[in-house]
Symmetry: C2
Subunit: 233 residues, 2 copies
DNA sequence: TCAAAAGTGTTATGAGTACACCCATGG
DNA sequence: CCATGGGTGTACTCATAACACTTTTGA
């Protein structure tokens, strides 16, 4: 088989920006880097693309290793290619961002990787260009979640409207009117009210909802305009 | 300098999806591939990422070589990484999409590359996964142009409202009401009416407009909702 | 009975849409 | 004077946003 002669081959890595929500604030999952350079510094979870896997497969593999989770929301974000981004050797990085239900995260596995959740707005300095990746992921999350029902990926299967509103308020760093918020969300037809309530956060209790998965798939690509114009953008 | 041992290095290419608008329909710029495999087949313009350039720089270089243009709209689209996407040797491709004013395109240079404009809706079969890249670029263009004033990149500096409307109708493959269209576009504050008219398309003539570049930059990131709900989506 | 959070209804404003006629000009 | 495309105004509907009180229940 003829090869492309005289072209330089490069290392290709994937890096995963993993977002979670703890009920109060947005969180970011970081690990302490195991390799030189910058061993011990905080870093996104990453790994090299192997010869027989695509970047998507590599990202899934890495994410499963970090969280023990499969089938999570994972989307290619951007490829970072500054020739000097990794001081050891030129490495392309294909960044992915992921949304996980933090309550399903398996702490056991994380300790193997010295992983930790950080408040998104108080994340430490990361290696290489990882802070830039996080900033881009945050922006994309805000952008996309304003138009598509994305943030449900961060919640358990059963969730309450107050939880959902707190999540939106965390992502957009603002407050919404709860009457308008619930009317808008319910009008999407995405939510199905359950018979039971979450009694843990109030005396009255808040009804649980689940996603209507049929409508969820159908409407995901629509523009839903989930964020009030007077709120964040 | 320590290197990352035992990791496989891969070829990294960029491929550019170049869109234009000829006044009637959306067009796609393709070349006849000069390399094996598939020499002579239609292809996107691409090239390998060189050791000391980023992917953005590579895409700019490639695009300049193809069109003679500099400073054109160019945005990273997606990285394609199927291990089998190039039958000769595994190659990652970082795809970019670009919008150019077709009237500035320099035919001389294009002939050097056997480049040709194709009607976007009648593009030929392309090599490798390039049809998939084009499909994704088309979708992203529709998505983004519904919310941001992007399509102006396809027009000359001076353009008329009927031209602009034809362009939008081409991208969304539908017809808009011209009264609503002009009201909506003018209400953005992005357009500045010129004193002169384009007399080439009608007896009455249509006023030229230019972009208000200050508002253009300021509003680019806003959600403008440029497409009627009853139109395409 | 009280505290704390959940849940809900009304009104006013503005954006979006549907729709039809007059204008300017060159031939 | 007429054919062709350019340009504009109005009324209706619906989505949005602002705003405050009642309900539930455990302590």
């Amino acid at each position: 088989m003829t090869k492309y002669q005289k072209q330089t081959r490069l290392l290709a890595a994937v890096d995963c920006i993993v977002f979670g929500f703890d009920g109060h604030t947005m969180r970011l999952l970081l690990i302490q880097r195991a390799l030189e350079a910058e061993r011990g510094k905080w870093s996104l979870m990453g790994g090299f693309v192997q010869p027989h896997e695509s970047a998507d497969e590599a990202a899934k593999r890495v994410l499963h290793a970090l969280t023990g989770l499969q089938g999570v929301y994972l989307e290619q974000l951007h490829t970072f290619s500054d020739p000097a981004r990794d001081p050891i050797e030129r490495t392309l990085s294909i960044a992915y961002f992921s949304l996980i239900d933090i309550s399903q995260y398996e702490k056991q596995l994380s300790e193997e990787y010295h992983a930790e959740w950080f408040d998104l707005s108080a994340a430490p300095r990361l290696i290489f260009d990882h802070n830039e990746m996080v900033a881009m992921a945050k922006e994309k999350l805000r952008y996309k979640a304003a138009l598509h029902p994305l943030l449900f990926e961060l919640l358990p299967k059963k969730f309450t409207l107050p939880q959902l509103q707190t999540l939106f308020e965390g992502v957009y760093e603002t407050k919404f009117d709860k009457r308008n918020f619930s009317r808008k969300l319910l009008s999407t037809g995405l939510l199905v009210r359950q018979a039971d309530k979450d009694m843990s956060a109030s005396r009255k209790g808040a009804f649980y909802y689940k996603l209507n998965s049929k409508n969820y798939k159908a409407k995901f690509q629509d523009f839903l305009n989930l964020i009030p114009r007077t709120g964040a953008r």
